[in-house]
Point group: C2
Chain length 554, copies 2
């Protein structure tokens, strides 16, 4: 290899944040690298930071500027934060081939179809030893256990050596569905020494070793056995192993299984299509549920995080497709509340409690995490024995803690937030470049940049309200009487006369203006805005946004 060629790593999303995963690896001389992309994820908008936005994705400007250097896209697994952006971003990133395993591929193809894109870009790859050649890279899918079927770490062979990109993983010897964690496979791929391990950091603050999916089976069975009325459980629909554990335990107690919410039906269907789900209990249509005694019913329900339009939210408020919970029923959160969702999940619990339902939540007997805890991460380090560790999938605090953990184990490590391009092959961890990164919003049907100002305007309107003013100026640059003012999101005064006061004050101000000052629309907008802000501030203590529209008679 030429002296100037090197292997670089550049996260565009998912490093110093949780979610929105997108990672680039490049090989070549500076500026002439060949690139591969791993994962095209989303994160979810919030009223606080991104009101009205539909989805948030990474900013792909860096790779759009060198599209001809991008070889391929690999998707580690089918969670939204790893594949959810594929349909929207794939046309922008050059329509390159997408490689996934079978189950992930079903989801990836639906993502492309959902965005009106031909799904044939997705190619299905078997687990290793199969390897995909993508320019100077050879890439294989190493099965790992996680909370969705067929999750994989990526084994990335480069001219400089081998990198292991963990994706989301846990070390589960008994995941109930799909492949168990196989320590020997990790030793095998690491054989002569890894160049670098790029590794999940989500649970680095969890001090105890992670628990297996198998650990909850007996407790779930006991819960189903002891419950009197209907039992409903919620968890992420993509956690098919969990769905199966819950449904089997219910069926064993003579309960009919009902799926509530589109995602539940879809994911179980995908699992069957991929040949992964083979002994899921029979599912009864929700319309038949009414004719079954409630003590013989079990339902799996979407919306464990309090999503307002999901089945669980409907059940907590009122009912869902004819099913109404009541005293004697049990609702099980077989899930963990993601930080930030505490209030919306609390709303569900209160709603269910008001109905008299027994709610079981945040109970470790009925949920285990899908991520490697701190001792598990140490085990991954030991098994793969990398010279260099790059933490990913975590906020800054997680990356820092994980880097320190690796250093404590005698390895080099670097904290590499989004937009930081580092050398992986020579001076490992050396920062080669800082790339402008950001976020792309799906807003309605349009992709916009987070900094375009559109959402900033919406936040400002939400905080301060908006006053719209319409002014008519005649052919001689004289403002006509009859200024219109509309208040949006501005409180009224006790007198209820804010609108009239504003109209009068604007008319008075314009009538005092010199004609020359009214020749220019911007000058009119400035003086009207000043009047509006002052009066609003005086009367109701708010300085609203002001929009002034000047109609000129020809």
């Amino acid at each position: 290899m030429s002296a100037k060629e090197r292997l670089v790593y550049l996260p565009l999303g998912g490093a110093a944040e949780i979610g929105m995963n997108m990672y680039l690896y490049g090989w070549g001389a500076p500026g002439r690298e060949r690139w591969i992309m791993i994962d095209v994820g989303v994160t979810f908008p919030s009223m606080e930071g991104s009101p009205g936005v539909d989805l948030i994705m990474a900013d792909t400007a860096f790779i759009e500027e060198r599209l001809d250097q991008l070889e391929a896209i690999f998707i580690t697994h089918g969670h939204e934060d790893h594949v959810g952006g594929l349909g929207y971003l794939w046309p922008k990133i050059g329509g390159r081939p997408v490689y996934t395993r079978a189950f992930t591929g079903i989801i990836a193809r639906h993502k492309l179809e959902g965005a009106g894109v031909d799904p044939s870009a997705v190619s299905i790859v078997e687990a290793m030893p199969e390897m995909v050649t993508a320019g100077p890279f050879k890439v294989g899918f190493l099965p790992v256990s996680h909370s969705i079927p067929e999750a994989s770490a990526m084994v990335i062979d480069t001219p400089a050596g081998r990198v292991l990109h963990s994706g989301d993983l846990k070390l589960d010897p008994s995941p109930q569905l799909g492949e168990p964690f196989d320590p020997q496979s990790f030793r095998d791929v690491s054989g002569d020494g890894l160049l670098a391990l790029v590794c999940d950091s989500t649970n680095v603050f969890s001090r105890d070793a992670g628990r297996s999916e198998a650990d909850i089976v007996a407790d779930v069975e006991a819960l189903m056995k002891d419950a009197t009325g209907m039992v409903v459980a919620t968890t992420f629909a993509s956690n098919i192993a969990r769905l199966q554990t819950l449904a089997k335990a219910a069926a064993a107690q003579g309960r009919a299984v009902v799926l509530l919410g589109r995602a539940m039906n879809r994911m179980v269907g995908y699992g069957r299509e991929a040949g992964i789900v083979t002994d899921f209990p029979n599912v009864v249509d929700v319309k038949e549920a009414a004719s079954i005694p409630r003590e013989h019913l079990f339902a799996l329900s979407t919306g464990s995080q309090g999503e307002p339009r999901a089945a669980t939210a409907s059940l907590a408020r009122d009912k869902y497709m004819g099913i109404e919970l009541t005293k004697g029923d049990t609702f099980l959160f077989s899930s963990k509340t993601i930080p930030g969702n505490e209030v919306s999940v609390g709303r569900l619990v209160n709603g269910l409690a008001e109905k008299g339902v027994r709610v079981v939540e945040e109970d470790p007997r009925y949920h285990v995490s899908g991520h490697a805890n701190r001792p598990d991460l140490e085990q991954v380090h030991t098994l793969t024995n990398p010279a260099f560790v790059v933490p990913m999938h975590g906020e800054y605090r997680h990356l820092k803690e994980h880097a320190e953990l690796a250093q404590t184990g005698g390895r080099d490590a670097a904290i590499v937030p989004n937009g930081t391009m580092i050398d992986l092959s020579h001076e490992q961890g050396e920062v080669l470049d800082i790339v402008e990164t950001g976020r792309t919003y799906l807003d309605g049907s349009v992709l916009i940049g987070a900094m375009d100002g559109v959402v900033r305007d919406r936040v400002r309107m939400a905080l301060r309200g908006l006053v719209a003013v319409s002014v008519v100026v005649d052919e001689d640059d004289r403002a006509l009487d009859g200024v219109w003012v509309e208040l949006h999101g501005i409180p009224e005064t006790h007198r209820g006369a804010l609108q009239e006061d504003l109209e009068e004050a604007i008319e008075a101000d314009l009538s005092r203006a010199k004609r020359a000052d009214l020749k220019d629309d911007d000058a009119i907008a400035d003086r009207v805005s000043r009047v509006v802000r002052k009066i609003c501030n005086d009367q109701v203590g708010k300085k609203p946004l002001v929009t002034v529209m000047t109609n000129r008679l020809a």
Copy 2:
């Protein structure tokens, strides 16, 4: 007593929610009750539910309609959710006398002054045996331990018997500052049997007995001893016992104590003014901190919940009044993250981690709660031995759990959410009336109702954006060309021509309209709104709010 007279209980805030406490007790024949009010608290707005709102208080319409029947207001303690609404609501609730203990009184008077109200309405009352007569009631302040000095349970003597209203409380035999929990005082006031116990439910889901403020002293001392660089700790400024524990441990290690944030200085000052704070270490002005070696510095900082304008947020982002944290320093959260604040607190931790600061958070060695846990509540039930328990201070799930706890102990209990008026004297728990309740917003300088539509409009603008349209119609009811359209918070199309497309389409639509259809402003607004919503939906997938202003030439 007349057969028709009875004692009633009516929570207006704080029951089936946490915060915004306001409780009414009434004695008399239906419609002719004499009332007392306990607590006038606030809760805090969120971008999600109440963007732009400054404070949230209970709706006092019920008592405003019978102001001449309100005898007095009692404040249990000085936390915002118990006294924060006093300044804004006191003029509306008839300017009745306000009774508090000394420390609470300092805060209450500042609340009145801050709202431009004469603070002399607040009368200071000693702890029991002093009792205040308010119409048919006699009310005493029974000292309890909590996370602020001089918290009190209210002992309410009525013609029907005695009620104990716990306020916020914990059972701390060694609170470090202020009165320890005295079980005998609880037995004494309950003597011949309480009519009812109205009781804090905040920590009913915490299974273990609460820990004393004394439990953290040794660990705080060890942390101060082991720390190398500067140490900064945050907690609620009103938790003066905690401030003192932290400051003393720091001073014992030769560290100078600095207070960062106005609330810290204010609360320590109030404590001195009330004679409660007597051996707080000397405080160094923040301007002198620069000249002190950082390993000899300790600071107490406001903003433990991630409040963006507090000292801690400044320290996490950049610096505060010249103090900048760096590698080797320690930042201690001597606090618990309140549900809903996880994301904003996470932002602090990430910011501090990026600076290389060691962050200690959610560590039980350095924080204890101010509320009674489940076994403590059982102890309160046992000590006071009430026939009837009414849980308060909690969401619905807390009230339900607490009522079940009381019932398990062989007592009657009722879940009484805001607006539910119950009988406390005859058929205990019988629902006598359901009163319309709601929330009052301080929005800028104006009090508005939560349902007035003002905030709803702001939320809609935040989610959907707003299109403002200005139209001019001549004397003959013909629309002139030159329609103005302004987009606010609407994404542009890739062509960047949405505004022009809208103007053209509106002009075309109006030119097609019959003149009779343009006589009416509402008719014009309807047709223009339809055109705007359709085009926006087609081009950018959003249906915005539309405001249409029709200027008519006279």
